[in-house]
């Protein structure tokens, strides 16, 4: 049984000056996830490790480097799901947490709930000894400047989304050597969003879904569009009907484009190790490790590879 990990660093028109850092970032995160799998770790451990690496990397809109809401605060969303048990944990609108994916995992493992929001999420973080990080440490100068430039959100979102400036979500999916799948997604949301806005990322079935019977999915793109079509669950439904992971992703993203005019991307892995990284935006930074080969891409139809040394 071959263990595979796939990660993404957001589907949007990634500008050239962020391209190399984005690709380097997803490659490093995929390698993190791969190390976990290689030493026999679970798919759940692998996706958490990969997403933590992306949350630490300020080039991505998750954890450190997250975008600001309309009041200049950081509010973070994340989800993690275990395909073996269908167990899941999520946080939404959590403030100033360095690793929202780890907090989401704690919700899953240490409470009888699936999601905590806002102040409740932060209280829970405190109760388990997870420190908060000052806003200034979490926010990059780049983000602060972009936020000031885009204070008018209405022109912000669709323009941002279809143009150059949107940062985006991160995520990972994996299958381990026992055939268990897992997914994780983490984000700072949309720049200049309303206070308390929750997008697709922490919502089971939209930002992510994992089921040992079919596969694991993590999505990225315009959150409100992904929600309307419950993109992750839609992809899983196609897989359940016998389609390949690639076709399932293509069909679902096309549907989202046609039905609600939203663009995005998805990474998928099946319990047998089939995987795909698909997007309808201009670019998506993604990477995967499969049989000790590191695959990665940015532009449509790009699939580069490097052999990993053992």
């Amino acid at each position: 049984m071959s263990a595979v990990v796939v990660v993404h660093g957001g589907a949007w028109a990634i500008p050239d000056d962020l391209a190399k850092a984005s690709v380097d970032g997803v490659k490093a995160a995929a390698c993190e996830g791969h190390s976990v799998l290689k030493r026999g770790g679970s798919a759940l451990d692998a996706v958490e490790a990969a997403v933590r690496a992306l949350e630490d990397n300020t080039v991505f809109n998750a954890g450190h480097g997250g975008t600001l809401n309309t009041e200049g605060e950081v509010e973070l969303d994340a989800i993690i799901m275990d395909g073996r048990t269908l167990g899941n944990g999520a946080v939404s609108s959590a403030k100033n947490i360095a690793h929202p994916v780890t907090l989401a995992r704690a919700v899953m493992e240490k409470t009888s709930h699936c999601m905590l929001t806002s102040r409740g999420a932060n209280q829970f973080a405190e109760s388990i000894g997870m420190a908060t990080v000052p806003t200034e440490t979490m926010v990059t100068e780049y983000e602060r400047k972009e936020w000031e430039k885009h204070k008018n959100y209405v022109t912000g979102v669709m323009e941002d989304f279809n143009a150059q400036w949107a940062h985006d979500t991160v995520g990972a999916v994996a299958v381990d050597c026992s055939g268990n799948v897992a997914c994780a997604t983490s984000t700072g949301g949309i720049r200049n969003k309303m206070v308390g806005r929750v997008g697709d990322s922490p919502i089971i079935g939209s930002g992510g879904y994992a089921d040992n019977l079919s596969g694991a999915v993590s999505c990225t793109g315009h959150g409100e569009s992904i929600l309307k079509v419950t993109l992750a669950r839609l992809i899983i439904s196609h897989i359940e009907q016998g389609k390949s992971v690639a076709d399932s992703s293509q069909l679902s993203l096309q549907y989202m484009g046609n039905r609600v005019h939203g663009a995005g991307g998805a990474i998928v892995v099946s319990p047998s190790g089939q995987w795909a990284a698909t997007f309808t935006t201009e670019r998506m930074a993604w990477a995967a490790v499969d049989h000790d080969v590191l695959w990665f891409g940015l532009d449509p139809n790009q699939r580069s590879k490097e052999q990993l040394s053992n």
Partner: protein, 298 residues
């Protein structure tokens, strides 16, 4: 067959002494939704009206009558969705307003977002001129009694809650064949502060046909519906799936654009009512299906 509205007031185990209130509550809500539809109102108007009635009714776990979180406070979730555009609106963990479903509709109509939570939801309510109500006005003696009982270390709030205090919801199809759904809840008894359940999560508690699943498998119903099974068969398949996969019990109300509807549940009871062709349908226990003229008092 058009228009039609179906309403539920919670699936589980409803104690006998509360059964009458549950049944009359859902019947009144179905009637109210139906009046909107007959008057030419949209399915969205109808479901919001029906659920508003249930939120205002202290017998249900939504709005007034909501269960309390572990701190003894009311935090509510709500969701609305319109099939025509797949537009959705949701609020989670919102406090101190009487009708979270109406606020969810405002999120859908007046923002470019799909969901607002907690303090952000409240700020938005303020900006929309939604009146703030004292939390006390939403708390009933019954919910306080349940909360106190479940503070005991050996208490089992999940078991205690099942069905006694249910989430509410409605689905409707209007004369133009457009479907909509709405769901509202105070959540889980003695939940942690900030706990969000399935209600405001699209695809879990509701989607275009308005299924309600505690464990989040309404997409399963959708997939089955797409394979052309009837609303009833699709609902039963999905409930069976939820039971076999995650040992979860629940209930579903479903309607399709042609006006076929179903109210199905795998729990012991579900208070439900439907209105169509000037007839009121309602039931509580498995197998029950009573009918009467919509104009007859219940």
């Amino acid at each position: 067959m058009l228009p039609a509205v179906v309403v539920h007031g919670g699936a589980g185990h409803i104690p006998k002494e509360r059964a009458q209130n549950s049944t009359s509550g859902v019947s009144a809500a179905a009637r109210a939704g139906y009046i909107v539809l007959k008057g030419g109102g949209s399915s969205m108007d109808a479901v919001v009206e029906a659920v508003t009635q249930l939120e205002n009714n202290p017998s249900f776990n939504a709005g007034c009558g909501s269960v309390l979180n572990v701190k003894g406070e009311v935090e509510m979730d709500a969701f609305v969705m319109d099939w025509k555009t797949l537009a959705t609106g949701a609020v989670s963990a919102v406090r101190d307003i009487a009708n979270p479903t109406q606020l969810a509709r405002l999120v859908m109509d007046k923002t470019s977002h799909a969901c607002l939570t907690a303090e952000g939801a409240k700020q938005f309510a303020r900006s929309m001129g939604v009146p703030e109500v004292p939390m006390e006005s939403l708390i009933t003696e019954y919910s306080r009694m349940r909360w106190r009982k479940n503070l005991a270390p050996d208490a089992n709030p999940v078991e205690c809650q099942m069905g006694k205090m249910g989430t509410v919801g409605a689905v409707a199809v209007d004369s133009e064949g457009v479907v909509a759904c709405a769901t509202s809840t105070g959540g889980m008894l003695n939940k942690m502060e900030g706990q969000v359940g399935d209600t405001p999560c699209i695809g879990q508690s509701s989607n275009i046909h308005g299924q309600i699943f505690p464990e989040g498998h309404s997409q399963a119903v959708m997939s089955i519906l797409k394979l052309c099974q009837s609303a009833e068969a699709a609902s039963d398949s999905a409930l069976a799936y939820m039971k076999s996969r995650v040992d979860g019990l629940g209930g579903v109300v479903t309607v399709d654009p042609q006006g076929n509807w179903a109210a199905r549940f795998s729990s012991r009871q579900m208070a439900w009512a439907a209105a169509q062709k000037d007839t009121l349908h309602y039931g509580l226990y498995t197998g029950e299906h009573f009918t009467q003229s919509i104009d007859e008092p219940h």
